[in-house]
Amino acid sequence: MNKNIYELLGLLVAICFILALKGLSAPKSARRGNLIGAAGATIATVLVFFAPFAKPGDKHHNTALIIGAIAFGVLVGVPAARKIQMTQMPQLVALFNGVGGGAAALVATVEYLNLSAGGEKPSAAAVVATVFTVIVGCTSFSGSVITFLKLQELMTTRPVVFPGGRFLIAATLAGVLGTGGWTIAARGNTPLLVMGGLSLLFGVLFVLPVGGADVPIVISLLNAFTGLTVAASGYVLESTLLIVAGTLVGASGTILTRLMADAMGRSLFGTLFGAFTAKPQEVGAATEARSVKSGSPDDVAILLNYAQRVVIVPGFGLAVAQAQHTVRELADLLAAKGVDVAYGIHPVAGRMPGHMNVLLAEANVPYEQLVEMDEVNPTFPQTDVVLVVGANDVVNPAAKTTPGCPIYGMPILDVSQSGNVIFLKRSMRPGFAGIENELLYDPKTTLLFGDAKDSLTKVVSSLKAL
């Protein structure tokens, strides 16, 4: 293909990606934006088979293998993306990000081997870019795998801290940088491979001490990093498209990471360097001794039946119990009885931003009933009953009252302002942040123990019987 046309089409694809990100930042255009991005990516993929050769006389190698590999990738990726449950999307995104980082590291490595094999001396800048790509790509790969394991609860979601951990991390980082310098100086294959290995280790050590609550922030950060590795690969491969696309993702990912950290009231710095500063912590002794008021489904149904206004606060437990349809049934029933019903949506309820919106949308809950935190908070004093379904941290007053606790400073849904609070949860265990919730002991709180879906089903039938 003519080189000019090829490059023009590459620019077109880059523009598609810009439009994709732009589209994705507004609710109305988000889906279209994603499709534009996919279209751009498809064009680019088809196009690269027709790329003009760098040197005259070059020929294609491995075409069948490549197409086979793509087909295999599609066969793995699409079903995984299709079948995954809503609650597991964050970890899937983490995994996808990880393989992307891995791919970037591999691409840089192969190009490096290729050049050395051909006897060419790659330019200093290209070696630096390669080293960067391999380090960050490997870190992103192994780090993402750990975030996956954490979110999938294949390992503990608590920060994993062990004695000497800080020291080990610092040593690994030093090793990575050292072998990086070695690679740049010596340009052999061995230093590159050692460096890759150490980077993989570093990724693991970097993510281990991150508490589960900060995991999405880390995913977003690794995502931005992977973008930068793609840009660096683009530099090595002299592809403007990769440079632009990678930089776009790097820049937007960085901003997004900050926005996410802000929304969760977390400090980005603390999250990032947690690995270096984390000290082993004792798990707080449980204070199960205090009394709580628990109720039966009938009690709850009666409370709800005679309320004027009910606000439902969904949380991660709703997702776990897959109770979105049942909660909607309850809300419809109450509405039909003349109760004013709304859902109070906290921005970080659940395990990914927008989790609750997605979940409730799945159950066809009307948009108008979803009320964002800032709007619902002033209405709590006029609310008779708040039904907290599997939420905990997002209604925990400790965020306001206990300086130093992990969620201190995060805005919360101020449900204690309302007349009655009903908690649907399975036990007295704390939420994601692992801290006690005083509200459970409040006299106006009623606890209905059990799986959220079961409990809701029972409440619905009691309510119908009334």
Partner: protein, 104 residues
């Protein structure tokens, strides 16, 4: 392409990346992250390029592995993003049922 050109393109892309997403609402954080994640799957193009010129077995193996991983990143990323966004889609709005069983 000169290194100045590359640097300029890099700097401008940073601004575009910053500006384009800086006003996103919380609800869209995850889809946006996921979409951006799919976009960096474009490393597939790089993977194909190196696979296309790889001759030794080692290089070919690594390159083909890169193609597989990049494809999973890209295709899976766009599909999962679309699935998330599909759920946000404003269905033909059901009116808020606030008064006594009007819709029953």
């Amino acid at each position: 392409m000169t290194s100045m050109a590359i640097l300029t393109i890099f700097a401008l892309s940073i601004f575009v990346g910053f500006e384009v997403v800086s006003k996103v609402s919380t609800t869209l954080h995850t889809p946006l992250m996921s979409g951006a994640n799919a976009i960096h799957g474009i490393i597939l193009v790089g993977a194909i390029t190196v696979a296309d010129s790889a001759t030794s077995t080692l290089e070919t193996t690594l390159a083909i592995l890169a193609v597989v991983l990049a494809t999973i990143n890209m295709v899976g990323g766009f599909v999962v993003t679309d699935r998330m966004l599909e759920m946000f889609k404003g269905k033909p709005k059901t009116k808020k049922v606030a008064t006594e069983g009007a819709e029953k």
